[in-house]
Symmetry: C2
Subunit: 432 residues, 2 copies
Amino acid sequence: VTAPPLKLGIAGLGTVGVGVLKLIDQHGPDLTEKAGRPIVVTAVSALDRSRDRGVTLDAYRWHDDAVALAHDPEVDVVVELIGGSDGVAKALCFEAAANGKSIVTANKALLALHGAAIAEAVEAGGVTIGFEAAVAGGIPIVKALREGLAGNAISRVYGILNGTCNYILTEMRETGRDFEDVLDEAQALGYAEADPSFDIDGVDAAHKLAILTSLAFATPVDFDAVHVEGIRHVTSLDIAYAGELGYSIKLLALAEQTAAGIEQRVHPALVPLSAPIAHVEGVFNAVVADGDFVDRTVFQGRGAGAGPTASAVVADLVDIAAGRRVPTFGRPVASLVAKPKVAMDAHVGPYYVRLMVYDRPGVIADVSAVLRDENISIGSMLQRGRSKDGAVPVVLLTHDAKEASIRRAMAEIGGLKTALEPPRFIRIQEFT
Amino acid sequence: VTAPPLKLGIAGLGTVGVGVLKLIDQHGPDLTEKAGRPIVVTAVSALDRSRDRGVTLDAYRWHDDAVALAHDPEVDVVVELIGGSDGVAKALCFEAAANGKSIVTANKALLALHGAAIAEAVEAGGVTIGFEAAVAGGIPIVKALREGLAGNAISRVYGILNGTCNYILTEMRETGRDFEDVLDEAQALGYAEADPSFDIDGVDAAHKLAILTSLAFATPVDFDAVHVEGIRHVTSLDIAYAGELGYSIKLLALAEQTAAGIEQRVHPALVPLSAPIAHVEGVFNAVVADGDFVDRTVFQGRGAGAGPTASAVVADLVDIAAGRRVPTFGRPVASLVAKPKVAMDAHVGPYYVRLMVYDRPGVIADVSAVLRDENISIGSMLQRGRSKDGAVPVVLLTHDAKEASIRRAMAEIGGLKTALEPPRFIRIQEFT
């Protein structure tokens, strides 16, 4: 091979950064064949040079300041694996673009919060940014939406975008254990962070969804338009009821083009067992894209971890090394069009509602009256047995109803004398 | 946009060709944004100019001889949608490459039988060939293997590659009807051809598998190395037994790197209900690729039809229009290395065996003795009831056994006096 190597400067040497070093080390000759030129690491930056990472850094130029990679003449491409929507990661990416260096990143927060600005900087710098690793780990979904499905108008993109939540919900269903208990275990196993809130409160999935939305609908990334709910309030009781009714509870991330605009939402949902994402279990992720010509496509794989993330990073590097360029969100920034967002209150769909009530005459009549007054019709109801203390769960599945009506009804039902606790509701997603 | 348009010459105006015309017509401005230049059809060729296809051809140059597209100065890219491994389709592709025109094709037979020669011609001509549409219809699996998973050594690639067979097997399971009956229906619905043998005898799936094998294992396409069996001998009785035992019967197409070489095989298989392809139903296709860094990835979608196939063709066209080039099988032809093939007789795995025997003392003893002599151990056995005429089905699941041993044992059991008909066997695939 006579072509000059593609020289990488890697910022951040956590598990993913080390995974990238290992992949390039193990598959070097193969990557050279695929890319038409060698891909070599020339420089690195991390917080602590001396930490034992199981790999030797002696051959690489070292920078205490990651942003210096953007100015290193021995670096063609900056691989940003620091993370975080602002600070060093952001500075490094903008600086790299301004200096004519392409970027590969796994940083979903950065893209979700500053995607349009990044795309502009990249375009102005005449470079490209690869962010396959930022969404759904090893699943090549960014490539699928930017390139593989380029012939389609996408009407809906959705999936399971957070492996931590999917692991917890899967374990809760399989073992009947409670959320807190399973979260503790997930933390012990390394599937959940010490501070798990980004994952379990839905923020991580929302970052990824905002990026997918931009790719699918040719609109600037708009993280603030995403309705975000996590899984803390999901109980194993609800999971068991859902199962009886033919549903699985998943943390759904969904963006849809509706007549009123684009709906973007992350929340627990009852999905029918026939849905393509119903059988995606444990730490696996899945993305479904519905296109007008291709119809339904489904992509599954590991959404996190050193190996899958390194796989995604290196795929982007091979593209860059081979001279394959794609606009950041699949088309020039000037072609991205802001579209109306649909507020969650305007969402219409069926709902799962669970009440805990005193089992007294008239309870159901009271509840039914509240729902009737909000124009919510009941599709089915589940009530069985009678507990010793007189408290019984009642489960209702509604027909299509407006979110605002459901919320008002819930507040009113929660105020009934017979209600033992505020009623819980979980949206049902039918994927018609 | 000031960039010059990419000019297409389309050969073959069947449902897929017309689908491509419609897609480009409907999404023209969108494709221009994505590709950075317009993609326009300038010339077409088909058998009959006057046939009503629901689209007007007036704006295009017409060629009675498809090969003439390769010489038309108004054609940059030849879109070959004629089909067939030889004849006009082959001549057109080689002629186009020799004339410096890139090619996009949906022709799996051509690639499966002449893949290496095509790749050489394309490389020599300094052009590219896109064949996303040749494998698994609208699923961007060629892109995934050539680009998205480029960082991985692939250990195994498998899936459901023929929608006709999957439709038939799904219908047989859901309705309990027989093969012939469901095939008739599939023909009436347009899911099966008038001459369905290419599909139901496994040839179509084998073509696609041979292509996937080359992409996954960096080896020249070797269609002759594929073991090919279709679904004609699958009965609804076997499907029902499989279901009872926790399996679904699918037409499996699988290529695997083993210690002895590469195994490539297409045959009906019992797959556990927990397998990623077990719930892929009807005309849908699925491909699973196992990579060393990414682990398991799964891709699902429609494997045929005008819309999905046009989607794949146009994705390739956008890549070419945007100047994105990929070597035919992901790397230069000179880097493809022929690897040892594993004969089917050397295959080792568990087997489902169904016998029809006279229910007399000693039958099981006779059968067991044959299996013991061939070193085949039985994992479980299912025999129940007794029929009026004394004939009973006996189902055995074996532990890992060698195919050659199974075949000898089957022949011997078929010769037993108590055997009513030759025993049937179907391989079990556990996906460990």
